[in-house]
Symmetry: C2
Subunit: 371 residues, 2 copies
């Protein structure tokens, strides 16, 4: 797990975060390293596998865990799409902190953002919101130890957005979010800051440690909300929110990232099974030009999206991943065989997920107060 040393075998694909040292030195992100992982009673697979590679202020969370003090985990989803494999990681992290340590989960349906960004009205967002939430519940989110809200209906969050707006300069908004033509994107960014601070609202017991699991691309946002928390701590007693940073899964077809515009790069959890199978079957691998060559030279598992699917989601046993990695490298495991094995895993996982989800749609409607 010496992830910074590129000469060591790396079955976890952590080489795909280009330059750790720059992140750590320049941006003040701290490494999520062995010292931290050792202090966590039962680290998640994302921690063990180095997918979570950095953090800000995670020691607050460690201390809360060690001292059995309350803390919260916060995240959310824009109700613009069906739940897809790119959403699984954050979802699993929320559920992990809730299940393992009793953290209260704060889960936001970012419908103000989906209106500003995608012109989806709150009403039109409702079905997607219910569907996404049912996915979350099927994945294991316990609604009894959670607060789940739509931005458009959570006045405490929009209240924060206006307070925050009055405490940030226009220059900062430009620096963090770039020069946006659509003014609503700036506003929904401040709503997002409100979402992150909601767990510390007096109605939820006031100031406390909060961990926000995010992709590295979200760090500017984390820095903004931490600045706001710092600035307003004397008025509101805010604790600076903590964050974990994970690398993002690449596109199934070998593209740099999953994208809605490129349907072969990802799949929805509610997609037709044949379509899922076909996308996995066509996924980018580290295979050689011919079987003979692969047997001789071995494959290149670092490039392989089948391996990546296992590392990220569909293989719980670390040993099996290392095994496949080594067998690929040695030439013993060929792509066709590996693909078939993983397709079976995924098919069975997805079927099982859907069975659970089906029964939870009504619960999701109830939670979101949808008739």
């Amino acid at each position: 797990m010496n992830r910074q040393n590129k000469t060591v075998i790396d079955p976890w694909g952590s080489t795909h975060v280009a330059d750790y040292s720059k992140l750590f030195d320049e941006f003040g992100i701290e490494p999520f390293d062995e010292k931290i992982i050792k202090r966590i009673p039962n680290p998640s697979k994302y921690m063990r596998r180095g997918i979570i590679f950095g953090h800000r202020d995670f020691q607050r969370i460690l201390e809360a865990i060690e001292n059995k003090q309350p803390f919260a985990v916060m995240s959310g989803l824009k109700p613009s799409n069906k739940f897809h494999i790119g959403n699984l990681l954050t979802a699993s992290e929320i559920i992990y902190f809730q299940k393992e340590f009793g953290a209260k989960a704060f889960y936001c349906i970012a419908d103000i953002e989906s209106y500003a960004d995608n012109r989806i009205t709150y009403e039109d967002a409702t079905d997607t919101a219910v569907d996404n939430l049912a996915d979350m519940l099927a994945l294991g989110l316990d609604p009894k130890n959670a607060h789940i809200w739509r931005q458009s209906e959570e006045k405490r969050v929009t209240d924060y957005a206006f307070i925050f707006g009055a405490n940030v300069t226009t220059a900062t908004m430009n620096a963090v979010y770039g020069e946006q033509t659509n003014f609503g994107l700036y506003m929904s960014a401040l709503v997002q800051s409100g979402d992150i601070m909601l767990p510390q609202h007096p109605d939820f017991g006031g100031p406390k440690p909060v961990v926000v699991p995010v992709g590295l691309d979200q760090d500017p946002h984390i820095r903004l909300v931490r600045d706001l928390a710092r600035k307003l701590s004397s008025n509101y007693g805010f604790v600076l929110p903590s964050a974990t940073f994970h690398r993002l899964m690449r596109g199934l077809d070998g593209s740099e990232k999953m994208s809605k515009r490129n349907p072969m790069s990802y799949f929805d959890l509610s997609e037709d099974l044949d379509s899922i199978r076909s996308k996995v079957m066509n996924a980018f691998t580290g295979g050689r030009a011919t079987v003979a060559e692969q047997k001789k030279l071995g494959g290149e598992p670092d490039k392989c999206m089948i391996q990546e699917l296992c590392v990220f989601h569909f293989m719980d046993d670390d040993k099996k991943i290392v095994e496949a990695y080594q067998n690929c490298k040695s030439g013993a495991l060929l792509c066709g065989e590996h693909k078939q094995e993983v397709i079976d895993l995924i098919t069975s996982w997805v079927k099982n997920h859907r069975r659970k989800k089906e029964k939870l749609i009504d619960t999701a409607r109830e939670i979101l107060n949808v008739k």
Copy 2:
């Protein structure tokens, strides 16, 4: 009342709006002229005296009056100061439309703005809000035909602000409000747009004509909210809000405008009576260097703030104003005498106002739900 013709005697001070023709031609503001005033059963003194000199879409209001259809009048106040004479005009216009034509009055306490602009917390704004509202009630606002709200508590308004933000470009916000350092000022401008559209919310009977009485300096804001109403009319059925434009009273001391930084330029309605008397006694007039000179040349009532106080607020009888204007011009009315007369008028007006207000503080607290 031929206000555009500068050679005619102008006891109403309308020469103080620099260049009407530019406003009318360049900005598309329409003159609030005889043709309009003739259609109004009982025009307000501000209309009669040309203080209201322009409008946008006032014909909608005329039609509503003529056809006895419902319309609303909307305005508000930032709870950052005691109610002062600069606030009287808009207040009187709201009450006028309510009383004369049964318009529902929408009155907003702009506490999101006073936080963004003046760092007054919502809690700290409460006492001022109650006090200002009691002034409004004493002036004649009928709470039974009104909706009165604090921005921070009116979710329908902030909901609109987010919808509007997503429908405006950053370039427009810059053009309308200039390059603001404080990002919250842009946001509270959109909240203000929400305030103006609230009368058309389904909860208040949906789309209808609304008139917003404003000073000319507020026109960029009126244009913005009308653009938003136009853009969103297909979704919300919004009617473009109408506006009347009034000129602003100059500073009592002859300065170009009343300003908090210059206490001699205005007085509060709750200020010590001696202080009010002293400010009026020291007001800028059109008097000559000596009594003898004034008797010979006559005074310059166009410059005179005593005259202005009468025109704006404290003299209901138009004839008496014309009389004083002519007597000043002829040299028959000297400043000392005029001042004493007007001080007596104001003192009695203020005392009477305070007697009424005192009894309405509890009503104001009730309306704002303050314990």
